[in-house]
Amino acid sequence: MTPQPRKESIVVLDNVYKYFPAIETIFGRSKAYIRAVDGVSLDIYEGEILGLVGESGSGKTTVARIVAGLLKPDSGRVLYRGFDIYSGKIPKHIRRKIQMIYQDPEVSLDPRYTVKQTIEEALRAAGRSTNETKDLVRSLGLSEDVLEKIPQQLSGGQKQRVAIARALAMRPDLLIADEPTSALDVSTRTQILNILLELNKSFGITIMIITHDLGVAAYMSDRIAVMYLGKIVEVGAAEEIIKEPRHPYTMALISSSPSASRLSKVNIKPIGEIASQINIPKGCRFHPRCPFAMEICRREEPPYFDVGDGHVSACWLHGGAPKT
C-alpha cells in the first residue's frame, strides 16, 4: 500500500501485527485475541506532520508505542532510517531520536520532581548542559516561576508544555504526540498545537499526531491516515482526505464531527456501533456499518486501491484493478 515515496521515509511500518490476549478468566487465558494492530503498513516521511485518526480502540496508541520503540510487534518490521528497531536491543542514540508525548502529560513526569529537576535530568541524559534549562522552558512559553513547581501545582496546559520540553531535551527528530490536547480546553488546545506546528516548521521535527478529532487532524497534518479496527483504511493528503474522502468510514467520521464537516461536502451517517476487536467482521471490516456495502464486501477483504497521487483507500467501491 505504501505509495511511491516522494520524500524520504523516516519510519516505515511494514505489515505490522500486534494482538493482545482477550479477557483472562479463572480458567486461564482465553483463546480469543484483541486484534489491536491487524496488518498496518505506513510510511512517515521526513519533515512531515502525519495525522493518525480513528475512534477509541482502533489501535492508534498501539501503533504509536510500536513506532516509539516501546512495544515489540508480533510480526512485521519497523524501520527507522532503514534500521530495523526490533531486530535486537534498540541502541540508545536511536531511542532518544524518537520521543513520545501523551494525552496525560503526567505519564512522563515524575510527580516528586520539580520542573527544573525534570528538565535537567533529561538534558543530562542527552549529554547536554543543564544551563540550557531556562532557555528550553522559556522557549515553550512557560514563565521561569514554574521551575520550582511540581506537576500537581501546574495546569493541564503547563504540564503538557513541560512534557514537550522534556522530549525536546533529547533533540528528537521524530515526535509522536498521542492525543496531546484531548484533555485540554479549546483555548489552551490551540496554544499546544501551535507549539507543535512551530517545532515542525522551524526545527524540521517530524511529527505523528494521533487524535480522534478530525478538526485537529486537519489543522495539523500534511497527510492523514484513518484507522478502523486495527487497520488503516485510507491515507492521503490532509485536505483531500477531509474534503473528498473516498472510504465510507472516513466519510462517516467526518460527517459525525461538527467541526470537520464544515470543511467537507460529505454527509453520510454510519449504521450501528463499532464492531468488536475480537470478532472483527469478515470481508471489509466496516461492512456491517457501511451504507454502501455490496455482496463482495461481506466476503472478501478489500485491498488498497490507489485513488490518485499517493491517496489510497481500502474499499470495494473503487473496483478496478487493485494496487498490489
Binding site: 479549546v186 489543522y219 459525525s256 461538527p258 467541526s259 451517517k269
Partner: protein, 324 residues
C-alpha cells in the same frame, strides 16, 4: 411562549480550604417550552454546578448565595426536599455524562428499569413494566429490546448504555431533561447518533432540554439558543445561529475561532493566551480581561454588566455605550 425554567441571578460558592470559590455568579438563564438550550463553557466554568442546582443535588460544601430557580413558575430552591423529590426524576430528569457509572453493574437492565418505574411511577407488575420498557427502548432506537433487557451494563457499549439511560429518563414523561455532557465520553460516530436521538426526543416527546457541553460543535448542531459561560458568569447569549455567525464577546469570538479549526495550509490560528482566573481570588475587573486582545483601562478596573438586547445578551464594555 412561557418559560419552563427561569434561573434568576443565581450565585453559588463552594467552601474550600483556601477560601470561598465563586463557581457560579449572577447567572440568568431561561428555557422556553420545547426549547433546547445549550450552556457552553470550558471545564471549570460552572456548568455542572448550574445543573446540580436545578436538580438540587449540590454537594454539602456548596452555598447558595443568591438567586431563584423557577420551574413552571415555582422556586425549586425554596421547596421542601419532600416536594423536590416529586419533581426530580419525574418532571425533571437527567442524562448523565458517564453512562458507565450511572447504571448499577450488578443488576440487569430489566431490573433497573423496573426499580425506577416502581419508585417513580408506582408500577409494580413485572409484565406491565416489561411492556413499558420494551416500548421505550424501541423509542430510543434499540432494535432488539427484549434481548437488551436481559443484559448487564458491562455487556453494553457506551452508546447503548446512554440509549438505555435516555429511555429511563423519558419514562416519566418529564417536562425538562438536563443533559450534562451526554456525549463527551462517546466516540464521534456514536456521539452524533446520540445527539440525533436527543433532538428526535425533543421533537416527539415535546419536552425542553438543557444541554450542557464544552463542545461548540455539539451546541451548534443541537440547540436553539446558546448561553456562553466563562469563569462562573454568563458572558453572552443568543440564538445559536447569531452566536456562531456573529459572536459579540471577545471570549466567544476566540472560542469559536479556536473550536472550528481550518487546514494547515490556511496558517496558524491565533491562540488565546493565558488561562481562566482563579475562582477563589477573582480579578476586580472583567474576568476575561487578562486574556482579552481588546481590553482597555476600564476592563481591568470595573466589572461589566450583562447588556441585554432582545434575546441577545453580552457582558463586555465594548457594548456598554451602544446600549446606553
Amino acid at each position: 411562549m412561557s418559560a419552563i425554567l427561569a434561573i434568576e441571578s443565581l450565585s453559588i460558592a463552594y467552601q474550600t480550604e483556601k477560601g470561598l470559590l465563586r463557581a457560579v455568579d449572577n447567572v440568568d438563564l431561561r428555557i422556553e417550552d420545547r426549547e433546547i438550550v445549550c450552556l457552553v463553557g470550558e471545564s471549570g466554568s460552572g456548568k455542572t454546578t448550574v445543573a446540580n442546582t436545578i436538580l438540587r443535588i449540590l454537594p454539602p460544601n456548596a452555598i447558595i448565595l443568591d438567586g431563584r430557580v423557577l420551574f413552571e413558575g415555582v422556586d425549586l430552591l425554596n421547596m421542601e426536599e419532600e416536594d423536590m423529590s416529586k419533581i426530580r426524576g419525574r418532571k425533571i430528569n437527567i442524562v448523565p455524562q458517564n453512562p458507565s457509572t450511572a447504571l448499577n453493574p450488578i443488576l440487569n437492565i430489566e431490573t433497573q428499569f423496573c426499580e425506577f418505574l416502581k419508585h417513580k411511577k408506582g408500577i409494580r407488575e413485572r409484565d406491565r413494566c416489561r411492556e413499558i420498557a420494551i416500548d421505550l427502548l424501541g423509542r430510543v432506537g434499540i432494535a432488539d429490546p427484549e434481548r437488551v433487557l436481559k443484559l448487564y451494563p458491562h455487556q453494553l457499549s457506551g452508546g447503548m448504555k446512554q440509549r438505555v439511560l435516555i429511555a429511563i429518563a423519558i419514562s416519566t414523561s418529564p417536562r425538562l431533561l438536563v443533559a450534562d455532557e451526554p456525549t463527551s465520553m462517546l466516540d464521534a460516530t456514536i456521539q452524533s447518533q446520540i445527539l440525533d436521538l436527543l433532538l428526535d426526543i425533543n421533537r416527539r416527546e415535546g419536552l425542553s432540554m438543557l444541554l450542557i457541553t464544552h463542545d461548540l460543535g455539539v451546541a451548534m448542531s443541537a440547540c436553539n439558543r446558546i448561553y456562553v459561560m466563562y469563569a462562573g458568569e454568563i458572558v453572552e447569549s443568543g440564538s445559536t445561529e447569531r452566536v456562531i455567525s456573529k459572536p459579540l464577546h471577545p471570549y466567544t469570538i476566540a472560542l469559536i475561532d479556536n473550536a472550528f479549526l481550518s487546514f494547515k495550509s490556511q496558517g496558524i490560528k491565533r491562540a488565546v493566551s493565558g488561562e481562566p482566573p482563579n475562582l477563589i481570588d477573582l480579578p476586580s475587573g472583567c474576568r476575561f480581561s487578562s486574556r482579552c486582545p481588546m481590553a482597555f483601562d476600564k476592563c481591568v478596573k470595573e466589572r461589566p454588566n450583562l447588556v441585554q438586547r432582545g434575546i441577545d445578551s453580552v457582558r463586555c464594555f465594548l457594548y456598554h455605550d451602544a446600549s446606553a
